[in-house]
Assembly symmetry: C2
Homo-oligomer: 280 residues x 2
Amino acid sequence: MLELYLLRQLAAFKEYGTLSEAAERLYLSQPALSRNMRKLEDEIGVPLFVRSRNKLELNENGRLTAALAEKALSEIDSIAKQVRDFDRSRRTISLGVCAPAPTWKLTPLLSQLYPTMTIRTEIAEEPELLDGLHSGQYQLIVLHFQPEDPHYISSACGTEKLFFSLPPTHRLAKSASLSFSDLDGESFLLMSEIGFWHDMTVRKKPHSRFLIQNDRLTFDEIVNASVLPSFTTDTANAFFASSSDRAEIPISDEEAEVRYFLVCLKKHEQQFRQLFEACN
Amino acid sequence: MLELYLLRQLAAFKEYGTLSEAAERLYLSQPALSRNMRKLEDEIGVPLFVRSRNKLELNENGRLTAALAEKALSEIDSIAKQVRDFDRSRRTISLGVCAPAPTWKLTPLLSQLYPTMTIRTEIAEEPELLDGLHSGQYQLIVLHFQPEDPHYISSACGTEKLFFSLPPTHRLAKSASLSFSDLDGESFLLMSEIGFWHDMTVRKKPHSRFLIQNDRLTFDEIVNASVLPSFTTDTANAFFASSSDRAEIPISDEEAEVRYFLVCLKKHEQQFRQLFEACN
DNA sequence: AGACCTTACGGCCGGCGTAACAATA
DNA sequence: TATTGTTACGCCGGCCGTAAGGTCT
């Protein structure tokens, strides 16, 4: 059977045009390449080259062979990668979420229920989450609505309510309740990687500007040191008790409180049965 | 990159189940195979086997790898074949005919006009000829009707008229003309490999039986030695003068005389221009 | 002269076989 | 005991590099 090193060398010769150049790219002596091209020709049994006295070119057979070789080589190349990906996917649970809060409860739970598995978490938009669930990119996703498709298994897994976080000096710091529009136009401090909350706050306050910070500790410091309004949620407060003198004002819009739903494909129902029972 | 011998050996192990058996089939010592399977595992970097103390089995990764390997190996295997076929097709003109007579003139003509090419002739049914022309199986075909599709180039290339060949003692040997139906029911001697003539004669004499002989010399001998009716044609007589005392009676059915048409695809018009000019 | 390809010769590495061992049924 | 898989050691074929030679621009 044709050996790979011959096909690789043919492909390189096709790419670089001369034996010398190809040999150099292959870290191979030029005579070796010359010999091997003749050997390949012998093995296939038909001429692959037109040979002038000091010039070597592919003929039609040679071009066909090189094209087929490139295809086969890339296929062989991809085998190891495919197997490694497959192996990783078998020992990994990928969790896609529409916001960070659900992971605070789910990640420890997953680690405990499936101690041999690696838990990978990703924040994405809801349409991408659903696509990824079907493509196998995610085995589990968390949405902030309940999907209706009967191919899914889903179950509520917590709520989250958004609050304004205002400095005591803010003119509205004593309010019992505020709506998004009450603070439209003011500049806000905002965490990055907060999933759908980002879109929602930006959409509900079209005239505000948002200063994005991607590290939570830094964010907390900046919040405490500034007089800009920001956000917090009941869930975040429960998990990350941060001392601050800020006023936390409930947001009256109904979108400010969401329910999360954990979703998996029906075919994985067995695998995740314990998880669904535990997260209720 | 993964080397082919490792993939071949993995595929063999998958096929035969044990290292010993696979090694034997591969004409390889069993320790060598053991080493190489470990090497493959190392190179891919994930476990491919479940190892008991004296048992080796593929795990899921291994089964995937073996499946991918089989695919890649068969692809590599097919490269040489594809290139050889391509090379042969480049130096061969394949002529498909609906009956043998046209080849008697065309084959010498082709050899003369295209002296570097191999001429290959095949008899086939007309639908297969047209399919083969499109698929590239034939560059030229001969039909006994003129195709209407404008994608073809076609030109008349001779006629052939069928005769009954009757022993002098036959009751109808003196007839000036006969129709197919006049001899329906009698047993006939018939050559094989005569293309559409076979179907036609069988169809026109549904009550006759036909004794098939595939060698022309043998056929001629049998014909001369027997009193069974057979067939001949004007074209065959012109090319193969066979002495015989048989009566040759024209067949009056209009299907008994055909015109042949040489056909090629328009894209080959240039290549075969000389041929079309010469065969008129 | 410089670029390119081919042929000739010797070295060396990698894959193989033999041998010896361990474990299971 | 027969079968299966693993480890250790030395051989050898095949691929490579160096050197030398020929041809073309």
